[in-house]
């Protein structure tokens, strides 16, 4: 049984890597092409290497706001035309902004490939920042903030957690921006952002689906080849100083249930320890057989749900544990149980079957992310930007398979250090009033 399961993991780890063809235009724009002709559709993703880490106080959230402005008109395709023309040709789109990147995602029937290239190149170089549009879009983004943060306990607490976890590094401010900054940024701020972030040499394009490398290359040359390279965004110089003791933040407000979040510092995504931390996180939180689910949700019923997440990051980032605390339970009790389980990871080695289980979960997850052309485009872009090259995706399975119980314990000792944690708690106001009686 043991032997069989080890062989299984090894076989999965050596699965066929995604076939990718790549080329770089003279202006530095890198293009990845993955051919998949199962359905007559294409996913085209543009990764611009600019995000909230490239901002400064006073203009926090500008990367995300800029993402919105990219849909508000360029030279050839004026206001509203990007969406109108795309949808009329069977396409749809979205975009997301993170701390490190701004990503534009287009999904469309193969017949629209040239059109999409034309529209994307138009807004990469000829965006028209109309002051009226800026004001209207400011309201949209404010509504998005109210939706995601101000009226969402989870979003609200996480924002305060991040701000406490980072003293100096830009990862401490919210991607959507502080409310005051959303009200204040100017058209010059937007122009500056466009200049530093939106250049072919700061962009990776991933095309996945019913296409050939040849047609993608011809169209990329035609539509993007003439765009001039620019200075990339200035380097982020600030390095977060080492955390020297536990930090705490608390929110008291009307709520049905308490929330608890605990953040630890972890290295950047390209660091080999991040794979070990993924296995560690899977042991603790993935599935109902995970240690934290068993203990906090099932056995002690201190939490309704528990999860953990370490986002992709170019600079050292966070691993955050999220607990939705059971109603009527003191969050301190949930916290205590969480730390007991983390301590056990720091003290003892995981047994072989449990480790194998966590690895299997992560390996199957890798397949799951490749079920769709959109999933593949996103995964390839992320590996290209965050892991030192899309080629590293082919080794991701092997990296997971080679994690040992010793290295997991070592990572727990090193990164899940009580001195380096930040704890955020949301206490329902009614419960808080009871306490003070």
């Amino acid at each position: 049984m043991r032997l069989a399961s080890l062989l299984v993991t090894a076989a999965m780890a050596h699965a066929q890597p995604l076939a990718v063809q790549t080329f770089t235009l003279d202006n530095g724009m890198k293009v990845l092409v993955h051919e998949d002709r199962d359905i007559p559709n294409v996913a085209l993703y543009l990764f611009f290497k600019i995000g909230s880490r490239d901002e400064r106080p006073g203009v926090t959230g500008i990367s995300h706001f800029f993402e919105h402005m990219m849909f508000n008109g360029a030279k050839k395709y004026g206001p509203k035309q990007f969406d109108i023309v795309m949808e009329a040709n069977g396409g749809s789109n979205n975009a997301y902004t993170s701390r490190d990147v701004t990503v534009y995602t287009d999904w469309f029937p193969r017949s629209a490939l040239e059109l999409i290239m034309d529209m994307e190149s138009d807004r990469m170089v000829h965006l028209d920042l109309d002051p009226k549009m800026v004001e209207s879009e400011r309201g949209v983004v404010y509504s998005e903030r109210r939706q995601r943060v101000d009226n969402d306990n989870f979003g609200l607490l996480e924002e305060q957690l991040d701000a406490a976890a980072f003293l100096a590094h830009p990862y401490g401010w919210p991607v959507i921006g502080w409310a005051s900054d959303i009200e204040a940024w100017t058209i010059d701020d937007l122009r500056h952002h466009y200049r530093i972030g939106y250049a072919p040499n700061n962009c990776v394009m991933v095309v996945s689906g019913d296409v050939s490398r040849r047609e993608v290359e011809e169209l990329a040359k035609q539509y993007f080849g003439g765009i001039e390279r620019q200075e990339p965004p200035p380097a982020v110089r600030t390095v977060e100083p080492e955390q020297l003791g536990e930090r705490r933040v608390e929110i008291r407000k009307a709520a049905q249930l308490p929330l608890l979040m605990v953040s630890y510092h972890v290295p950047r995504s390209a660091d080999a320890d991040r794979t070990t931390l993924e296995v560690l996180t899977a042991l603790l939180t993935r599935g109902r057989s995970s240690r934290l689910y068993r203990r906090l949700v099932d056995r002690d019923r201190l939490a309704l749900d528990v999860s953990a997440y370490a986002g992709k990051s170019l600079d050292p980032g966070q691993l955050v544990f999220y607990l939705e605390v059971t109603s009527g339970v003191d969050p301190a009790k949930a916290e205590e149980a969480l730390f007991e389980e983390i301590d056990a990871m720091r003290k003892d080695l995981a047994d072989a079957r449990e480790l194998e289980k966590a690895k299997n979960q992560l390996l199957v997850q890798l397949y799951r992310q490749q079920k769709t052309i959109a999933g593949k485009a996103n995964l390839l872009g992320q590996y290209e930007v965050f892991h030192g090259g899309y080629e590293t995706l082919a080794q991701a399975g092997e990296a997971i398979a080679s994690v040992s119980a010793e290295s997991v314990r070592e990572a727990a000792r090193r990164y899940l250090d009580p001195k380096k944690r930040t704890i955020a708690t949301l206490i329902p106001e009614a419960a808080a009033a009871k306490e003070s009686e």
Partner: protein, 461 residues
Amino acid sequence: MKTAAALLTLAPMALAVTLPPFEKETLPNGVTVCLMPRRDTPLIAVQVTLRGGSEADPAGQAGLSALTAELLRRGSGSRTADEFAEALDYLGAAYSAGTQPQAIVLRLEFLSKDAEAALGLLADAVARPAFAEEEVRKAVEQAADEVRSLKDQPGQAAQLYFRSLFYGPEHPYGRPPRGDEISLAKVSRADVVAHHKKLYTGRNLIVTAAGDFDSGAFRTLLRKTFGGLPAGEAYRWREAPPIPAAKEPTLWLIDKPDATQTYFLIGQPGLARTSPDRVPAQLVNALFGGRFTSLLNDALRVDSGLTYGARSVLDLNRLPGAISMYTFTRTDATKQAVDLALDVLGKLRKNGVNEEQLASTKAYIKGSYPTERLETADQLAGLLAEMELYGLGRDEVDDFFARVDAVTVEDANRIVRKYYSSDALQFLLLGNASAIRESVAGYAEKRKEIPVTSPGFGGSH
């Protein structure tokens, strides 16, 4: 603009998409099995669909179907809940069990090499759940807490209140699908056992699978897995009670004093999944509120910046459902946003749909259909189950593009007149009542105010 228009005719879109081939058989105990082999990723998706779903919840016990589905894994066959979880996680399998208005749905996705072990777990969950007293009690308490936590998510809570308002207490869709604090408290182990015995039977079961398998061997495995279930009876669909909402405008205001924006839905009666109007209705709804450039989103987001997004939701279930406009806006702009939504609806009624809008919407619907329905094994297993549940043929997919293309401007405008022209709109607003109460009073004579802290979602249980 002119250049863009010229580009519209650049290249033709695919003329049709076709459903990949599949096999169907009925096992001796009545289980329907559909198999679609597809070699893409080394994954298999299996979906078990049981007719009934939350519409089968007995009166006063909203959430019983969902709770029963949740309990299937908490001790089944020879395994405890914990052992079941470990076995599932060891395979890296993804499992879910939940309820829809007309069906209980279990989904399992696993590596093709693990088919036997994975299906063994699924068989235990469907046929041999233990429903231990302790697990039932625990699940009830957790479910009640989950329902409470929904009230910390105003967007989701608004949808649940809207169901109570729109469908009323007699209609199965009027109850919260996962129950509420009151209904869940009334559920006992005996209820769960009886519910399972009645619905988890051969004649009521549809098994659909797509993915990396060889049909012959996999069929044998599925026969072994589900062939032993008692045949029982197929669920008898309930008669459709009328939707009372259609009579006069009504407004419910859900008071959440800490809210800084108002979430609102405005609904009118729509259609059923199998309605002959479904394709033109999908087109009209997409252009009215189902895509980024829709009339609603264009007015409320793009032109006015009042919201992050506005849409119209077309329910397509076994029984006719709602068509509801949904958005959210800052508290002091509530009336402005509601007025604007009503204005957009009024313009649709007055001006109808034109040729250009319809052509664009057709392209949009056809362009997104393959990635929404035909791309992955789990989508295909879900599609096969839906076809079986509603008695639809493969023409549902194979002729879809042709049916979209055949819709005329007259067809679309008939849909507008038939479904988007109610005089009895139903308004659900969730927000800070003291700040908006007066400004929204004019929308309906019949009004009700409910504090968000009251148990339940304003209706029956």
